[in-house]
Amino acid sequence: MAISDLTIIRRSLSARLFSTVTTVITVAVAVALMLTLLSMRDSGKAAFERGTGNMHLLISRDSSSLVSVLNGVFYADPPARSIDAAKLGELRNTYQPAFSYFIPTQQGDSYRGMPVLATTEEFFSRFSPDPDFNPDDPESDGEPWQLADGEFFDAPFEVVFGSAAAKETGVRVGDTIFVVHGTEVSRKAADSALQFSPHVHKDFEYRVVGILEPTGSSHDRALFTDLTSSWIIHAHDRRQAEDPTITQTTVSDLTAADALVTGIYGRVATRAGSSVSAAIPAILSQLRADQSITVAQPKEEIDTLFEIVGSIDQILIAMAAAVMVSSGIAIMLALYNSMEQRRRQVAILRVLGCSRGRVVALVLTESALLGLFGALVGLAGAFIGSQVVASALKAQVGLVVEPLFDPTLTLAVGAAAVLLGASAGLAPAILAYRTPVARNLRPIG
């Protein structure tokens, strides 16, 4: 048995444990930051794309396509303007034959801060948060909605809860709830400006009939009910304003003015095995010629959004890279300082027959190992950190982000840390190379 170079390096590192640990932590923080940012960037975009699901087009009367998607899919704010029954009918008559689905939606109410989306049963049978789900193809890879409990609504005043909404509010199938006019965002704004108190639709009780499985999309935070219920409760408000003695409103009391929607989820019919259609550009062009509506391609809007935030992303990655370079400097300083103290050790090794080249190799290996240890700890940190961030996102905004660690990218960041470590060892290695043996063997004092 002989002493290996690694034993020499290990003793050197353990002899200055504090410096070793702090240097490794510095590298680890940089690597973890870099990997977390990279993993969350890709998985964050994937999470947003899951929200838009398998729809091709979103029609609304919002001010822009991006606002339309943020409101209609991500529940940022209730759409300010509605599409009336006449317009909905016109759009249906003109375009529905080319569409796989044409699902009207209405937003504006909420329950304990969770948005309520009033829609039709097709929302569950045709639309899916899974972009690969093709409702016209039984062989499709994608998944339709899944229920964790209960069933989908099939009558007025039945409500289905998204998984996060159910978890946060603690409701169960069979419970009854009252919805509130307005949403958390709009109410907060109104509260501060007008001392507004929430208007509860207390005359209409909703029964919870189903709770959805998590989808990793924005819809996990929402509640879903049928359009008729929503039209009835708002028609009731209208009728009570006209005649305060009215206590009941039914479907028969609805007028054309009550049948408003705020959005239409549309998917153009595609061939089996395909998620796109050559007809989309033409339909899009035709729809956009209508100035009274806003037509958005949700996936394109998400791409645009990520292009906008991409620059912030790049700044963060540049900052992580700067931290990484700083950690390289930390390695260099740690080794350089220790080299001042280790000149005698180097001199002794030289006396014992260790060549200058081997001394340099020992120092470079030591610094590369600091980079490697930092990279390994950083990888573990990134894994844990991204899980924490993902949990926070899920808990705070119901967005399920599954951190994606691209093996090539992860390996590249790890290799960069090792290379940086080795490079940082160059100056201390030169110092070791030049150590004058005779001078450093003299008695101290």
Partner: protein
Amino acid sequence: MAAALDITDLGFRYAGAADDVVRVDRLSIHAGEHVLLSGASGAGKSTLLQLIAGLMEPSRGVVRVDGTDVHGLHGARRDLFRGSKIGMIFQTFNLLQGFSAAENVMMALKFSRVSKASHRDRAVELLAAVGVTTPDREVTQLSVGQQQRVAVARAAATSPAIVLADEPTASLDPETADASMALIQDTCRSIGAALVCTSHDPTMADRFERRESLDDLRSAAQYQRV
């Protein structure tokens, strides 16, 4: 059989200096011969040992150890030669802190041609021979006397042709110094190594069959004793 050490017309002076710090016209030492090298403080005793070990470059002359021109070797080849053929002992021992006694001895073997499989056994055996029975104890936890024994075992590890001892007893009390020098000499005899020892201590002179003064070595004709 080649002499353990053969020096011819050796000179060393610092850059820009007018005179040589070290000048040895001729010095030859047989295999196994023990030589005490004396000289005033600053006379260049340590420098001469560094020149013999190939740790410094002479201004002129030739140093042969076991028949090999030390300064004719370069880089790693000289380092390997030093590790295999020259043992060194220092006043302050210069042990590697953070390593055990056995590891200090094994470190000398690491840079030699001795088979790796035998390093540990040889180190423990050598340490036992010099009276160190705790080979796995970290050297800073050993007494000064024990540390010196480790240093002696390390110098003898590769069975070198020559051991260079630079004031090995300077920091020891007279009794300990005598025992220590006896240990160094006994160890060198056991491996058949020549010994060149520098010392200020006049009481050490009797222990050596041959004594040389650096001043006298400057005159080659007088001191050729091969």
